[in-house]
């Protein structure tokens, strides 16, 4: 029983980080219709940018905020320089995916060239712990969980309740028509990448904080969890990504505790494949936009 509780507690903490990354990925994929494999390497970039700032003796949460901004800008630039021109040329889905995989690899190895292949650490593992019911969390885990929840709610309100959110959804459904209706789609797309880039940056730093040590494969090896969570919750759904993150996080921790740590990833994989084959639009998606996403 204690083992189970520990696993769930750990799962919640991991799940929060997964959710943070997954929601950015999900919104990016949902609005821009690009399966961006570079996302993983962007998270790695965030972790190392954060690491560099941490060497200046800044507060770790300030580092997270600053890194988010930097990665957000990098993400917009990436989209403008690579993906938009490709789309304008009418490159197929597969062509764009190959391009993002390539870009991810380039970024990953450029990072290696700068920092080397050795393991780094934020050294945030120790610190005060808080226990409630039989759960034990470190304060940094709690802050990450809190941040994730706040961002998620905010994003949901933004997408469903505001004018810009409506414009984003309109743009994702049909960009040409959206432009014809007077929406400045270029700005909306930029905004989407800014937003998802910021989440990517925050998630990268959060991941670096919660793992003992990390190297240049940090983000790309984490990508599969985020994709699983995003698909589970339904692409483009912030709440869905949150629930998906928690499910994937807890399920993989339980599998790790009771079965073998080596098979942790397998759970995420199994969830993902089952979802894609059975209900590709995700558990919580009701909208027609996502039905369209899955068949076409």
């Amino acid at each position: 029983m204690k083992l189970l509780i520990e696993a769930i507690g750990f799962g919640i903490a991991t799940g929060a980080v997964i959710a943070l990354g997954a929601v950015g990925f999900s919104v990016q994929f949902g609005i821009s219709n690009v399966l961006n494999i570079t996302y993983g390497s962007m998270m790695t970039l965030a972790a190392f940018v954060g690491y560099a700032f941490l060497q200046l003796n800044l507060n770790v949460w300030l580092v997270m905020a600053v890194t988010s901004v930097i990665v957000a800008v990098a993400s917009v630039v990436f989209n403008r320089l690579l993906l938009e021109p490709l789309k304008r040329r009418g490159t197929s889905f597969v062509g764009v995916i190959i391009a993002t995989v390539s870009a991810g690899i380039v970024l990953q190895y450029v990072i290696v060239a700068f920092v080397g292949a050795t393991a780094h650490s934020f050294g945030q593992q120790s610190g005060r712990t808080v226990s409630a019911l039989d759960f034990v969390f470190t304060t940094s885990q709690l802050i990450i969980i809190g941040t994730t929840v706040v961002l998620m709610v905010g994003l949901h309100v933004l997408l469903t309740g505001t004018k810009i959110g409506r414009a984003m959804r309109a743009t994702s459904t049909n960009r040409t028509v959206a432009r014809a209706c007077g929406i400045r789609t270029e700005r909306i797309i930029d905004f989407t990448w800014l937003l998802s880039g910021a989440l990517c940056g925050a998630a990268g730093v959060a991941l670096a904080i919660t793992t003992v040590s990390f190297d240049f494969t940090l983000g790309s090896s984490f990508l599969i969890y985020m994709i699983a969570a995003a698909v589970l919750g339904g692409i483009g759904q912030p709440y869905g990504a949150m629930v998906g993150g928690l499910v994937v996080g807890i399920a993989s921790q339980i599998a790790g505790a009771y079965w073998s740590p080596a098979y942790q990833d397998v759970i995420a994989f199994v969830i993902l494949i089952i979802m894609l084959l059975v209900r590709p639009r995700g558990l919580f998606s009701t909208g027609t936009a996502n039905r369209r996403l899955a068949n076409a």
Binding site: L86, I97, S102, V106, S260, N295
Partner: protein
């Protein structure tokens, strides 16, 4: 050496990705499957290698058996992975599945100690030429691999050239259209993934035998990217181009960087550089020359100076190319004739029962009868109890306001849209549950409202690809080679030539279909359907967007086809054409049949006027 094994792999992947359009991002996992199968089957029991490695099999099978097993295992796995693509997900979702499969395969294998020794991998895998020593062994091995490559290339040619390759490329360019002309795309895709997988397995097995070791680090998912880059750089869909790409990418770049001097302070940096170059190269090629250094060329294809073919571009881009008036060399092979030679047109033989003149069908002889068709989309009843029939040898019009359900009915009749309830009887048989491609083969052929051309095939190839059950498309053609299908191909080419003449498009025979104008693409669509020799042709708004001259030509052909015994169901808004052509007209409104009769009857019908003609 690496060139050889990489070649096997890139050729296999090119068959899947370049020719058949299946983007298999998990391809390297199949290479690995071959390597592991080979290793596990050839390794002896654990005693020989000490305690650091253990095997459950230790069977020491002969090398040749192990190679074949490696091919079989990888081929079967390829089919299995291919089966995930059967659920029709959007391309990027499929790519996602493949990527994840690849990543997870490394993880799962890395976690398995019993058979494949986890992350450490297997070592001391027997070399097939263990009896030789040193450099003699290495060079003989290179010779062996070269020999295998030559055989593999000759075998591959039978897949990628000729009618089979043409059909595969047709599927790549437009899957719906391939189904509409009776191609079994499921079987084709599984076959391609099986063969591609077998190539991967062979490549992996030979590699493992040469290196002597194999572990998860040798087949990270990025290796698939290296193979894809080779294809993109060399030329998608072109085996020769892929050869060049393989020389450049995995061999010159990834192996080549290892010969650069190492930088002492940062070991491994030079290898990393190889990956950076590779990634940049891929992106650069997608941008600048997405068709590769040696682009795919179709037989007889005319060199087009006006538009650069975008090999990675999405299917249809709308006709833009100006009609070029210069002579098409290939098109003039067919003897010119004044009148379209319908006598030679074999549709008559297939459609008309012996002894029965056209247009004189017995009463109640319906080629098509639909009854009580219902189709709901969510809460919307798009088709709501429609019943009507099409007389054999007649042209029946299907008209009605927008949203009446005409196109959905056409979709249900052709098998593209499943009916919620009701039945479709074609030629006396209930075909409601029959797969779309089978209906096409039985002679129930549709066209699409928007042009669905096979863009990267030439016009005449679009027509040739449409013939169902041709010899050159069968598995036998791979075994027996060109001799088996050459004479049939000549006959078909002649028939296609006649059709092109009828539609006055002989000049365009060797142009790529995507370079045709919008109107020409529509003509192509009708011609392609005719190549299937339909008993009943379903035309979905064929006149839309045609110039008066072209639509007149199309009308003319339709009535000629009717005289030859073909039946046509004709969805159209252009009522003039409907009136001139159709023997019988069915009016639909709000999902059901409102009225039917001759156009003259309908014009006087108040209800029809209210619903449609007046507006």
């Amino acid at each position: 050496m690496y060139l050889g094994t990489d070649l096997l792999a890139t050729w296999g992947l090119n068959l899947e990705f370049g020719v058949a359009g299946v983007a298999n991002f998990a391809y390297i996992a199949l290479v690995a499957a071959g390597a592991y199968t080979y290793a596990v089957l050839t390794l002896g029991s654990s005693s020989a290698n000490g305690a650091f490695q253990s095997y459950i099999l230790g069977s020491r099978l002969p090398i040749v058996v192990a190679l074949l097993a490696a091919m079989a295992v990888a081929g079967l796995l390829g089919c299995l992975i291919g089966a995930t693509g059967l659920k029709r997900l959007r391309q990027d979702y499929q790519a996602m599945i493949m990527l994840v499969v690849s990543i997870m395969a490394t993880t799962v294998i890395g976690a398995d100690q019993a058979i494949v020794n986890g992350q450490a991998g297997l070592s001391l895998i027997p070399n097939p030429l263990a009896s030789l020593n040193g450099s003699a062994r290495a060079w003989t091995y290179v010779g062996l691999v070269a020999g295998v490559c030559v055989v593999a290339y000759l075998f591959l040619r039978r897949f990628t050239r000729g009618p089979l390759g043409r059909s595969l490329r047709a599927m790549r360019d437009d899957e719906d259209a391939a189904v509409a002309i009776g191609k079994n795309v499921v079987a084709m895709r599984l076959m391609v993934q099986g063969v591609g997988g077998a190539y991967a397995g062979l490549s992996g097995a030979l590699l493992a035998g040469f290196i002597g070791g194999w572990s998860p680090s040798s087949w990270q998912y990025v290796e698939t990217l290296a193979l894809l880059t080779a294809i993109i750089v060399g030329g998608i869909g072109n085996d020769g181009g892929v050869f060049l790409g393989t020389v450049i990418v995995p061999v010159l770049i990834l192996q080549g960087v290892q010969f650069l001097p190492q930088i002492a302070s940062q070991p491994g940096l030079v290898e990393d550089l190889g990956w950076i170059i590779l990634g940049v190269l891929t992106i650069a090629f997608i941008f600048v020359r997405s068709q590769g250094i040696v682009p795919e060329r179709r037989p007889g294809q005319r060199r087009s100076g006006t538009t650069a073919p975008l090999a990675l571009a999405a299917g249809s881009s709308g006709g833009t190319v100006a009609a070029r008036a210069d002579t098409g060399a290939g098109a003039e092979e067919h003897a010119p004739s004044d009148a379209p030679r319908l006598a030679a047109w074999s549709v008559a033989a297939r459609t008309r029962e012996p002894g029965r003149p056209p247009g004189d069908a017995a009463p109640g002889d319906d080629v098509l009868a639909v009854s009580d068709l219902v189709r709901t989309f969510g809460g919307v009843r798009a088709v709501d109890g429609a019943s009507f029939s099409v007389r054999r040898g007649s042209i029946t019009g299907l008209i009605g306001p927008n949203g009446a359900g005409k196109s959905t009915v056409l979709g249900i009749v052709s098998g593209f849209v499943p009916a919620s309830s009701g039945s479709v009887r074609f030629d006396g048989e209930n075909v409601t549950e029959v797969a779309a491609f089978r209906r096409a083969r039985r002679g129930l052929v549709r066209t699409f409202q928007l042009p669905h051309e096979f863009g990267r095939l030439t016009t005449i190839e679009n027509l040739l690809a449409a013939v169902p059950g041709q010899r050159g498309e069968s598995a036998m053609s791979v075994v027996l080679g060109t001799r088996y299908w050459r004479s049939e191909e000549r006959r078909l080419t002649e028939r296609a030539g006649q059709l092109l003449e009828m539609f006055a498009m002989s000049e365009k025979a060797h142009d790529l279909a995507r370079e045709l104008s919008g109107g020409q693409k529509r003509m192509l669509e009708v011609m392609r359907a005719l190549m299937v020799e339909p008993k009943l042709l379903l035309l979905d708004e064929p006149m839309a967007g045609l110039s008066p001259m072209l639509s007149e030509r199309l009308e003319h052909v339709c009535s000629q086809m009717r005289s030859a015994g073909m039946s046509i169901l004709f969805v159209e808004h252009e009522l003039g054409a409907v009136e001139r052509l159709c023997d019988h007209v069915v009016v639909m409104a709000q999902g059901s049949v409102l009225s039917q009769g001759t156009m003259a009857d309908l014009r006087s019908n108040k209800e029809v006027q209210d619903a449609y003609i007046v507006g």
